[in-house]
Each structure stands twice: as C-alpha cells, then as structure tokens.
C-alpha cells in the first residue's frame, strides 16, 4: 500500500518562525501539507470531504479525509458520498477546499499551538487589533499577536494544475488571504516540482520531458533549461480515477452478486496490487484468448469471505452404534414399563379374583334368598349370577394378561380328507346316522368348493382389470407424449412470432430514440409491407403523372396503411393460439405433472437455486482486467475519451515545441521522467519507451526514467524550493492582493530556476 494517510496532529507549530513557509501539495487524490525544507510532509490525507448526519444527535457534521471506517458507523452516510473540491484537476468548490484547508492546518498544529494557553479569549483581542498593526510590535509581541489575531502567519506554497484558470487561482488566493490571513502565497505546478527535484538528484537533465499521470489528468510537460514550456505541454483527461472506475464498473458488471463488496477503496487496492501495463496489448490479450498455462499464471483471484454451508456428512460407525444403543435402551425401558404395568395388572386381577372367590365361598355358606340378596347388595352385586359372571370375566382377563391363549372357536384346519371322511365311502356301508352325516358332508364340500371357485373368478377378474388399466396408462402416456411434443412445437412457434412482433414494435417505439424505424431490427411481414407502402407514398409524389385516385382500388391503400389494420389481426387469437390453448387444457386434464409455460428452461432456471454456493462463487477473478484497465492511459478511447494516449502525447508535445532549436527533440527524448501515481504500474517505462520509439525516427536516443518516488516527489521538490533563499521573491503578498486584486494573478508567473 503506497498511500497511507498521516493525520496525527503535530505539536510543534509554535516552534516555527513566522517566515517559515508552509508547503501544500494539493493533489486531486491526496492533500499533503508540511514545512519547507523538510523531507516528508507532516500530514497526508485523501482530498475528500464527507458531510454525514450523526445518527444519535441528528446534526450534520463535516468529516475531512479518510478515517477509520469503523468510526463511520455512528454516522448516516447514505445521503452524502465523499465529495471533492476538484473538477478534473481544477479546484472549483472552495467551500470544500476550505474544509480541507481547515483540517490540514488544524492537523499541522495551528489550532493548538503552545501560545494559546496564555490567551483564553482571543476573539476579543482580535477585534482590538488590526492585522496591519504588526510591524510596530517587538518580535516577541508580534509572535504573540500572531497567535492572538487568529491567522496562519506563514507564507504558503501551494500546487495547482498546469495553466490553471485564473478564476480558480484567484478564488484560492481569496480563500488563503481573507479567511486564513496568510502573508503571501505562491502557486506552482506539481509536475514541475517533481521534475526539478529529480533533476537535482541527477536523474534527469535540465532539458527534458516530464510525463505525469495523476488522478484525473495526465500531462506531458517539456522543460528547457529547467523551466517548463507550457506552450508545448499537453493534457489528456485520463488518470488513475478512470482506471479505478473502469475496473470497478467491469467487475461489478461481471459479478453483480458481489457489488456491495466492490467499494471504491477496495477496487483501488486491487488496482494497486494487481494491475500492470502490457508491453503490447494485442499480444497480451491473445495469450489470454488462447487460455494456456501462461495466462493462468497471470490470472489473479480475490477470494471473498465465504463460509461453507454445513454439509450433511454420512454418520460414522460410532454414531450409528451410539444411536442404535440409545434406541435399544429406550425400547428396553419401554418394555420394562410395559412389563411392570402388566405385572401390576395381573396382581390387581389376582386380588380381585381372590376377593370374588372368597365372596362366592361366602355365598355358599349363606342361606336364604333374602340374605343372599342383601349380602350381595352390600358387595355391590345385584344377584348371584352377576357375581359369577364377574368372576368368569376376571378369570378370563387374568388369563389374557398372563399371555395364555384364550380358548376360542378358532378354526382348526383339518384336511379335507379328514373333514369329509364319509364321502368316499359307499352308502350301503353306512348306517342311517352315518348317511345323514355323509349328506351333510357332501353339501358342505360342494358349498366350499363353489365358494372357492367364485373366489378364483374374482381374482381372475381383478387381474384382467389390472392389465387393462396398464394398457390404458400406456396409451395415455403416448398421448401425453404426443401432446407435449405438439405443445412445445406450437409454443415455440408462437414465441418466435411474438419475438418478431415485439422486435418490430420495439423498433417502432424506438423511433424517437434511434431516429429511424426498424434500424437494425426486423419487422414482421405486415409491418414491412406497411413501411413499404408508406415510403412509396412519401417519395413517389410528384414523380411523373399523379394518377392516384382515378381508380377506386387506390383508396384501399389507406386501409392497408392505417395502423388499425394490423392491430386488428393482433386482437383476434389466431388458429395456433387456440390450438395451443386446447392442447394445454387437454394436457392438464390427463397429465397431472403438466404446467403450461414451464416446459422449457425449467430445469435450467431452477438448478442454480438448489446448487449450494461454493468457494468459486465467492471469487473475483482478475484476468484481462489486470492490464485492460490501465490500458486506458494509452488508449483513452476504451472509455470513450477521444484523446491521445500517453505515448502519442509525447509526439504532440514535441511537435508543439519551438522548432528553431537544433536537436532539441533528441535532447528531450533522452531525458524523459515519469511521475505521478499512475506511473507506478509495472511495465510503464518499457511501454512508454516502445511507444515513443514508434513515433520517433529510427535511432533517436530514448531514455525513460521513473521518478524516485512518483507520489511524494512533487511535495519534496516544492519543499526544497520553498526553503531556498529566493523563494520570497516568487510569492504574491497580501498587500499585492489588496492593491492589485485577483486579476493581477493572470500575469503571475512562477520561476522554477532560482
């Protein structure tokens, strides 16, 4: 991660002399502020402002820069996203700029310098003092008053874009002078500072080109003897913002399910981690198109957090054994319970039986009907018989409870021969008794046989019915099959027709959009005919003799032309449609599994629902995107920007250079510095070198170098510059501002060589 914000408040603001300049690199993506002469800016943060609403108190607050995102949970950010003061690379929204400067100065320590403790109420002092009164004070007093008066008493060096419109520069001056009361301001171009810094390090010559690719724009600026030549510089409105945005859009189109995961910050990280610039886009993309091993190696994969849905594993042996044991135990317990219940019931019944036996014993001893009745009544029985029946019942149930077989008239299966033992014996060997018996047996036998025969017949009938049913089912299946096939065919046909019709209608509906009827779309036959008639009617007028209307049939034309005509046959359902309805109703009758309309694609659309989400579904694959997105720097037409890419810009810039200097172009190309955040892509230098070779004559010396730190160099250059002795001559003071006004800034020209 090359970009890390530093937002800790500095405590040594008070220790800097009031002539010590503050250096601000006001980049479209990052704001860097620090003290002149130091090597690192003190405070760095993203150049954005959010104005969310605090959730509990409901007040709208201002949050500058990027903070710990966890803290933003207390705020409602749905209404307002991060806002920037920039449009393209020009500052236009100075209210946001003010918040950013507030925050920057605050974190630099301006608000809490050590002198504040002396004055509790500086506002009152401020009223009493006029800003111009300072020079009369002693140095120490001046220092104190400075703090009291409430202003930033340091010269400011702030960066701006090349050829910043005067309006923007003037507003910035107004903000710095009037709101912060700074004594003087200087405006410089970040790319120039970066080039100067690297020149001092000996990386590039004093004459050369700076290619700087920033957040929203890319510039090529030529330098002659250490001074930028704006007449020959050029700008393309493509930068890191476009790369990230392109990547974000492509990924969210490719993975619509993970759109919430693809935040700007996350995509920016992906870009910085994985994107590179292809040496040659066409050959690189062919590599991926072939899809061989090399392409696979170049593919990166971002695994989103994913928890596998619980998979139901087949239970282990142990588990099964455990379950079986548990079951066994339970059944054992149930059995025991049943046993206990039975034994208790038996006990109970035995007791009752004993009681009854005793009762009956007693009853035997008692004599006299009346006494018996009264005795029985005292025991709850109406008569002796009742008591006996109760005894029998109890005995019976006791036997049952004990599991003994209760004797009943069960059929004893006696073989036929044994049953009808008399049948085969001739009559004369039998006695009268036996004869009677024999007759009975014969009768019995014949009836049983008849009964069996009837049973057999019934069975046969049933079998027959079964067979018939089967046959019928087969027939039905065949019919269903046929009907289904027909249904499918018909519905497809209708679908096709509908598609054609809607296409036609779309084309008509798009009239006002795309400008012509049916451009690129097909019309159906009727509509085509209508269009033909209309066009002939429109363009045939006046050609030759107009004989229209002489014959009555001519007037039929209007009927054909009118729109109602083809709407008419839309309204009445045609033959196919009725046929389809008939088939579907018939199918519904005979086939319970049939659902109209769900025939085709049902399996395809339902399958993903049941497929469990796998690890692969939570992967974001970066293949071609890795170099397709940064390619917009070289081919802005990928994102619809009709400008040249970085390599061509060099050619444009060289062409714009004054032509009277001999060998200037070669000098330029032998010292090309690449800087800015977008120059960090691997392969940038090689690609630029190759691209410039293509547009320059053969044998041109070409040397492309990358800045030592493409991101920080412009701040460091500015810091070195501001620390130089001659810096105060380059500034624009508050006096100048009040005397000459904003418009004087138009002729303000910053010199980088001092």
């Amino acid at each position: 991660m090359p970009f890390i914000s530093k937002i800790e408040r500095q405590s040594d603001y008070g220790s800097f002399n009031s002539s010590h300049p503050i250096v601000i690199d006001n980049g479209a993506s990052y704001f860097r502020i620090g003290w002149a002469g130091e090597n690192e800016p003190r405070v760095i943060f993203r150049n954005i402002v959010q104005r969310p609403r605090h959730k509990t108190t409901g007040e709208t607050v201002t949050v500058v820069g990027d903070h710990n995102p966890a803290l933003l949970k207390y705020f409602d950010c749905t209404r307002s996203g991060p806002r920037s003061a920039f449009e393209s690379n020009v500052v236009y929204q100075f209210e946001i700029m003010e918040y950013i400067l507030d925050f920057g100065f605050d974190r630099l320590g301006a608000d809490k310098s050590q002198f504040w403790s002396t004055y509790d109420n500086p506002v009152n002092c401020l009223d009493a003092l006029s800003a111009e009164a300072y020079p009369s004070c002693s140095p120490l007093n001046q220092y104190l008053f400075k703090s009291v008066a409430g202003q930033i008493d340091h010269p400011i060096l702030i960066t701006e874009c090349a050829c910043n419109p005067v309006q923007s520069r003037g507003k910035m001056a107004e903000l710095l002078f009037e709101s912060y009361g700074v004594p003087s301001v200087a405006f410089g171009v970040d790319a120039a500072f970066s080039y100067k810094y690297n020149q001092q390090l000996g990386i590039c010559n004093d004459t050369g080109l700076a290619i700087t690719s920033g957040f929203t724009t890319s510039h090529v600026i030529p330098f002659i003897n250490g001074e930028p030549v704006y007449e020959a510089c050029c700008r393309t409105n493509v930068g890191g913002y476009h790369v990230t945005d392109y990547l974000k859009q492509l990924l969210s189109l490719k993975y619509p399910h993970h759109i919430s995961k693809l935040t700007w910050e996350r995509v920016e990280e992906l870009k910085m981690e994985h994107c590179y610039i292809a040496a040659d886009y066409a050959s690189e993309v062919q590599l991926f198109q072939r899809g061989n091993k090399e392409a696979e190696n170049k593919t990166r994969c971002w695994q989103l957090p994913w928890t596998p849905s619980p998979v139901e594993e087949p239970p282990s042996e142990e588990e099964i054994a455990r379950k079986a044991a548990l079951k066994e135990k339970q059944s054992q317990r149930l059995r025991e319970m049943a046993e206990a219940k039975r034994s208790s019931k038996i006990n109970e019944l035995e007791n009752e039986l004993k009681g009854l036996e005793f009762l009956l014993e007693e009853l035997k001893d008692i004599e006299g009907d009346d006494e018996i009745v009264s005795f029985l009544a005292s025991r709850g029985y109406a008569s002796k018989r009742e008591a006996e029946s109760a005894f029998a019942k109890v005995t019976q149930s006791l036997r049952k409870a004990k599991g003994e077989q209760v004797p009943s008239e069960e059929k004893v299966d006696i073989s036929a021969a044994e049953k009808y033992y008399l049948i085969d014996i001739p009559d004369d060997e039998l006695s009268a008794e036996q004869l009677k018996e024999k007759r009975r047996q014969v009768f019995l036998k014949s009836t049983t046989e008849a009964r069996q025969r009837a049973k057999q017949r019934r069975l046969d009938e049933e079998l027959e019915k079964e067979k018939e049913k089967k046959l019928e089912e087969q027939k039905r299946m065949y019919v269903v099959f046929l009907l289904r096939a027909k249904y499918k065919e018909l519905s497809e046909k209708l679908e096709q027709r509908k598609r054609l019709k809607t296409n036609g209608n779309n084309a008509n509906g798009n009239n006002n959009v795309s400008g012509g009827v049916g451009r690129g779309e097909r019309l159906n036959a009727a509509q085509r005919e209508r269009m033909r008639l209309l066009t002939t009617a429109a363009f045939d007028r006046g050609k030759g003799e107009d004989t229209f209307g002489q014959r009555d049939e001519d007037w039929q034309l209007y009927k054909l032309m009118s729109r109602d005509n083809d709407d008419d046959d839309d309204d009445k359902p045609d033959h196919d449609e009725t046929e389809l309805a008939r088939i579907s109703s018939r199918l519904r009758e005979i086939d319970p599994t049939f659902f109209p309309g769900s025939e085709s694609g049902a399996s395809a659309s339902e399958a993903p629902h049941f497929r469990p989400l796998t690890k692969e579904d939570f992967q974001i694959i970066l293949g071609v995107e890795r170099f397709r997105c940064p390619e917009v720097l070289f081919n802005p037409n990928f994102i619809g920007i009709d400008q040249s890419g970085l390599d061509e810009m060099v050619g444009v810039s060289l062409r714009r250079l004054p032509s009277w200097v001999q060998g200037l172009e070669d000098k330029m190309t032998s010292s090309i510095l690449v800087t800015g955040g977008s120059s960090l892509y691997p392969g940038m230098g090689e690609r630029l070198e190759a691209g410039i070779q293509m547009i320059r004559p053969c044998g041109t010396p070409i040397k492309v170098v990358r800045a030592t730190d493409p991101i920080m160099d412009s701040w460091r250059g500015a810091s070195v510059y501001a620390a130089a002795m001659q810096f105060p001559q380059q500034t624009f003071s508050r006096m100048d501002y009040y005397e000459k006004g904003e418009d004087w800034l138009r002729s303000y020209k910053f010199r980088y060589t001092i």
Partner: protein
C-alpha cells in the same frame, strides 16, 4: 457524540481559532453570489479563452487532440480484440461464446457496457 469519535477528532469543528472569517459567515447562504461555485465548464467559458492570443498556453488549448491512430476495437465483455459488432445491442464482441452472452444480457447491462465507452443511448 461517542467517545471514540471525539477521541479520533473525526468531526471538523465549525470554527477554527486560526481563521479570520468563516466562508459560511462571509457569504451567507442565498445572499451572495460568492457561494455559487462555477463548474469547470462555466469557469472556462467565463475566462473567454478565445480572446487570448493563440500562442498563449491556456487550460483549453493545452488539451491533447484526438489520436491519429485508429482506435483499438476491443470486445466490450472480455477485452479481447473484437472483429465483430452486434447491430442489435451495438456491442463489440470477440467470438461466438461472447455473442451468446451478449444476446442473453438484459438491456440495462447492455447499456451499462455501452456507457463504459460513452456509447450508451442517453434519453434527453
């Protein structure tokens, strides 16, 4: 405000001791034109760059002209080189598989792909 928010000093105070005047006070809402911020287009228009001598570098004339090379045509979906163009969706595509996908894309996706290269149909 929660303690951790205050500790992080997340919220910018409305008044800073080192400032002479707050823009909010300088240009009260709705009263002065000072708080109306011109957009870049308006700024450029107001600068009247056409009145400047042509050799003077300005924000407008340092812009790069359109490329001299024919634009590379790449497949809108895959990024491959795209020899084909679908007249219905107006998307460029590389091969038959991509063609299948673009024909099954819903219209708003087609429009979003077109918008990526600034070719979407804009309803006005």
């Amino acid at each position: 405000m929660e303690r951790e928010v205050l500790e992080a000093e997340l919220v910018l105070p409305t008044h800073m001791k080192f400032k002479k005047i707050q823009m909010y006070d300088k240009y009260p809402k709705g009263q002065a034109r000072g708080r109306h911020w011109k957009h870049l287009k308006q700024i450029i228009q107001a600068e009247n760059y056409e009145n400047y001598p042509p050799h003077l570098p300005t924000y407008v004339n340092i812009e790069t002209p359109p490329s001299m090379h024919p634009g590379k045509k790449i497949c809108d979906i895959t990024g491959f080189e795209a020899p084909y163009f679908d007249p219905r969706t107006k998307l460029r595509y590389a091969n038959t598989e991509v063609f299948k996908t673009i024909r099954s894309l819903p219209n708003d996706y087609v429009q979003r792909y077109l918008a990526l290269r600034n070719a979407a149909v804009v309803l006005r």
